[in-house]
Symmetry: D2
Subunit: 271 residues, 4 copies
């Protein structure tokens, strides 16, 4: 409630339901004075409660399959019409592994599944920026953020091919972020969030035990979806104009832990 | 001017003159509603214009040699008296290499100089946190930030032993940040800033050419002292509560560049 | 000539011509006492001089399209027959971007090209390991190496979508390396080599100027293809059995440089 | 037994007893054909069995306090006399925290202890290279290695101020490595080894439980002292001439793990 985003316009991808980080970000962006368009895949929207969010935040919804250049082009065009000008922020919060959904072990990937998950989870970020760049749709000093996970850097066995997708996504942030910075003065970053009990996250095998482990490893515990939304707001604000090409860990400190005392306690007893 | 730090109390080290990042941070913190104590080494204060800053920001000054546990203890005690309670933020912006000042090449360090610079530039951060921790002087979800430079990760030949000092400083942030997080719910981070033409920075050999190089390498150019102050404010605010143990690059993207087109242009002509 | 690989068997992908790192690795592996099968895509073999290499190293050739599970399955089966047992080492040296070849700028990717390059340059590594794992084709303490480039971590504008492909490739090394380590005691690493004037590398725009830049930035200069082959031999040997999931920079020090004096010299004159 | 170091001359610091990594490295270097001088602090030598090692490896011993420039100068001079020429390799395996020994918690460091430990564990590496550089004591393409630990990057609470010392040590490797590379064609690297049950390591609190944790986290398990010696030999050999300024993890893969299934098993039961 600081008016941090007063007058700013944006697009928020991936608000599925009230557990979503994108949902919380939309609520917080609204509180901070932003106007935005909500978007999601047509199929996800049928399942979701996005209309409620749109009403609450006084937003319009433009459905788009984030793997379709045509849909994205329509989305960006419509958004600029609806919002009455160029954009200041975009949140990419999209990810899905067909291998995970279908229970394929990482060592036995189905490569059609791999390709589909890569397209949805990673290439979609390139496509979004491709359209934004081509249409010159971002204002100078605008901010583009994608959500990611530390599996891009380190092994979490159950994360399957989403680890590789997130590595590719983070690379896109750097590769495209260079051109967006030089040519348009726009910044591009990824936020690497704690494991979060979103509806998507909860589907992963052994997720409860993993949440407990991450929480015990992190000096401040796991970050919540709302806390991630707050951090994302700071990255959309004018306070962070010179931060670009970065992967920013928002994880209670997990990423720089070797071991915590709380985790060690499980092993000390073994001696 | 968002009231981001309304009601928050802190200590700001290292505001030497109006070129200082700490100076700009004090001005911005004041604008955002914070109250704070300014501090600097007695010797630096004689040279500086800190009284002007104190007046402008309605702050008091408590001199302290940041290598002296006694001075730091007095500083924290006095600050809590002056501000009427525990602290929410602390900025450590202190660094000095005697080897650099005396023109000793890195391969021929004078180890008394090395020890002095290490004590001032790095160990002082441990001492500050030692006092804050022992006195239980930080409120929960408080934020401690130290300024650093990327020489901690990569070689900049003229940076001399300040590179090693910054590596030690960043390690202290992680090591002490763990205990501050687990025991006090306080976050500790370092901000790794672009080369900045502060009064201190300008003393380094070939600094002008280096600024030009860093500017051409960075997609958004070099970050200014004021921009760094803004970023520091975001790290003191409640928007970043779950970010801890991190080294955060605020550098227009320099840290993730291999080469930019602008830098390559100097070499392409050679072909 | 140390007999470092005496009695070891392997497969070497990607020996196109005598400038190839894979070619040099084959020569050095032969000198060190290894037996191996050479493989390449059927189309690359028509262009290449691989028969000469096979003769020189007393090897057989089994063509395989590294994106085809069928071809890879045949390759591994045949290799074990030819070599008379399980494998001790595999070198993956495969990479190609259709976007680069067709001159598509990174911000305007053709996504069919992107998918093809990703499949050839990155997913092929997963497929190779998939077959090796499923067939239990690696001896314990075997070593799998893929060649990569630092564009996976940092921006080199002309590297285009190969940057993202290499990020994905390195992630596969970690993700699959975990299972290969736990289940088979096999190590998986990537070697991140200096820019190298291979036949492939030379096609990249402005490559000559870039080689000069990298050479001046690196304290030891750019590493050659032969030096990379030597390093790869060390990673296949029993001296490095406990190194796994790593991305190993073989680059004369480039990766940890912020700036060298030689590069700064171009900018100092600007002051 | 490959004659990898045939004709090479060196100095090995820190062979305390047969559990030491330096001890194993001396044995392996001898087997590989190297000649070297053993050195240790006079006080450590009184406790140690270094004479036995000297006899076994046909080496001479030159005692030196690694914090004394005078002792180091004498060591390098004597070593060149004894070995009949310049050096090809140096191993720095020295570390000690007085705070750990005296049971001072990290948040309550005694700063005299901190300074002493920093001098012994980190600055000694600068002093060694200072002498080698000044005396022009290294042959071109020589190799200097220091042993380190991942606490330099990530938090291990019981590692205390050794974490900060190792961060400083690794920074010295980069900072001095630059000048050694450019001016002398010598490479400088650190090897970041698994926790190892050396006589020194075993003194750390809860070390048994920690070894078990690290072993379960690492896909290949913890690396032994002998395996580290083998890896060090590879770094002294001519196979790795272009690797410099690197911190090389030799840890069975621990450094790139987020969590292993074996560690997760402790937490899954909690659900």
């Amino acid at each position: 409630m600081y008016n941090l985003l007063k007058g700013k316009k944006g697009i928020i991808f991936g608000a599925l339901d009230e557990n979503s980080i994108a949902w919380k970000t939309a609520e917080r962006a609204h509180e901070e004075g932003a106007q935005f368009v909500l978007t999601n895949a047509p199929i996800a929207m049928r399942m979701g409660a996005i209309n409620e969010l749109a009403e609450k935040t006084n937003s319009q919804i433009v459905p788009a399959d984030a793997t379709s250049m045509e849909d994205l082009d329509n989305l960006v065009e419509k958004s600029m019409e609806i919002l009455g000008g160029k954009l200041d922020f975009v949140l990419h919060s999209i990810g899905m592994s067909v291998n995970v959904r279908k229970g394929k072990h990482y060592t036995e990937s189905n490569y059609d599944f791999t390709t589909k998950g890569w397209d949805v989870s990673a290439v979609s970020f390139h496509k979004v920026m491709n359209v934004l760049y081509k249409r010159d749709a971002m204002n100078e000093w605008g901010s583009i953020v994608a959500l990611t996970y530390m599996a891009a850097q380190r092994v979490f066995p159950d994360y399957n091919d989403m680890a590789d997708n997130k590595a590719y996504l983070e690379s896109i942030a750097r590769s495209f972020g260079y051109f967006f910075g030089v040519d348009k003065k726009v910044r591009v970053n990824t936020i690497s969030q704690s494991p979060t009990p979103t509806t998507a996250g909860q589907g992963v095998k052994g997720f409860g035990g993993f949440l407990a482990y991450a929480d015990k490893m992190s000096p401040l515990g796991n970050a919540t979806a709302l806390e991630c939304a707050n951090y994302t707001i700071s990255m959309f604000s004018d306070l962070t104009k010179m931060v670009t090409l970065q992967n920013l860990f928002h994880d209670g400190g997990f990423s720089n832990m070797g071991v915590s005392q709380s985790v060690m306690d499980y092993f000390v007893e073994q001696e």
